[in-house]
Amino acid sequence: MSGRTRGSHPGPLLDAYLDGELGRRQRRDVERHLHTCPRCRAELEARAALRARMRAMPLLSCPEGVVARVQAMTARQPTKRRLAFRPRLAWRLALAGATVAVAVLLLVRYEPWQRPMPEEAAYSPEQVMQARRDAERALAYVSYALQLTQQTLEQEVLPAQVVKPLRRGVSTALGVLTESGGQR
């Protein structure tokens, strides 16, 4: 900045100097300029005098009536609630996410709809029934977890985008399993 104060008058920097708002280098440059410029010295004095007059103006006291009115009004009004981190919601989301991930992984890993029809029965009827019960329980669990979260998430996004496709996938998988069990 030094060029500005050395070459010409400091302008706004003079006020910043008066207010103690300059860095060490700028302050030194302004002081150097003031040393050689009577016009800026006079300007600085005039501004300092104005500032002193302004500062003598009184700070006013807010009437107590205003405070009383505000307190009465705020007693009836709630504050806007902050969107705070809620551990219960976080746990529910995590649980729902983990359950969905496990279900998807299982489906991807075993791809029951891709399997060729076994010529011979691979599972006993009991095993098929057990698998069906397990799958239904898992599905119910996923639905339950999602139900808990859907109130706070955008309504109907999760059920439409996750539960339905998942249910369809699991039903298909169960259908395949049942069919394969029935053929035995």
């Binding site: 706004p12 207010d19 007059r53 103006m57 205003v66 504050t79 806007k80």
Partner: protein, 177 residues
């Protein structure tokens, strides 16, 4: 708990808000309305305001509510305003002049002049000058409060003081002439 914190804030900042509003608007009833509005907004947003920036937030809202009020005033205000200012100036404390009537009168006159000079400034400069000179706010705080760059604050203060001096000069000339 929240209410107790809020009451503490109200007590700490109410006079600053009121003073800023008064010097920006030039009359007590409007300054009271603005103070009330600002404090209500502070209550409504109390949980969302970060405490270190609370002072700057309050000054910004005060400035904005004052600007709105000035816009509304522009429509209905006219001659009565000057009379009000004179009355207000008479009610202002004259700082230690109680025992010296002549000095008291001089100080009141000086105050009137300063108030009138402030009122002649454009609203933004008025706000910045009041924040700097009466509230003793640092440039950075003003920059934060009005959401303007630091360099602009420097320029505005420079310009504001220049205009104030010019206005005071004009008034002196008017009185003498």
């Amino acid at each position: 708990m929240r209410r107790a914190q809020f009451t503490e804030v109200v007590l700490a900042h109410k006079d600053r808000i009121y003073t800023q509003a008064y010097y920006l608007l030039g009359n007590r009833p409007d300054a009271e309305d603005v103070t009330q509005e600002v404090l209500l907004r502070a209550w409504q947003n109390f949980e969302q305001i970060r405490r270190p920036t609370l002072g700057a937030w309050l000054m910004r809202v005060t400035h904005n509510v004052c600007i709105d009020t000035l816009r509304r005033q522009k429509i209905r205000r006219a001659v009565a305003e000057n009379r009000k200012l004179e009355e207000e100036a008479e009610r202002l404390p004259a700082g230690g002049a109680e025992n010296d009537p002549q000095r008291g009168a001089e100080q009141r006159e000086l105050l009137e002049h300063l108030q009138e000079a402030i009122r002649r400034l454009p609203a933004r400069l008025r706000s910045i000058i009041v924040m700097r000179e009466l509230m003793d706010m640092r440039y950075e705080e003003i920059s934060m409060a009005l959401d303007i760059p630091l360099n602009s604050v420097k320029v505005y203060i420079h310009r504001g003081r220049r205009l104030l001096r010019a206005a005071l000069g004009e008034m002196t000339e008017e009185l003498e002439g």
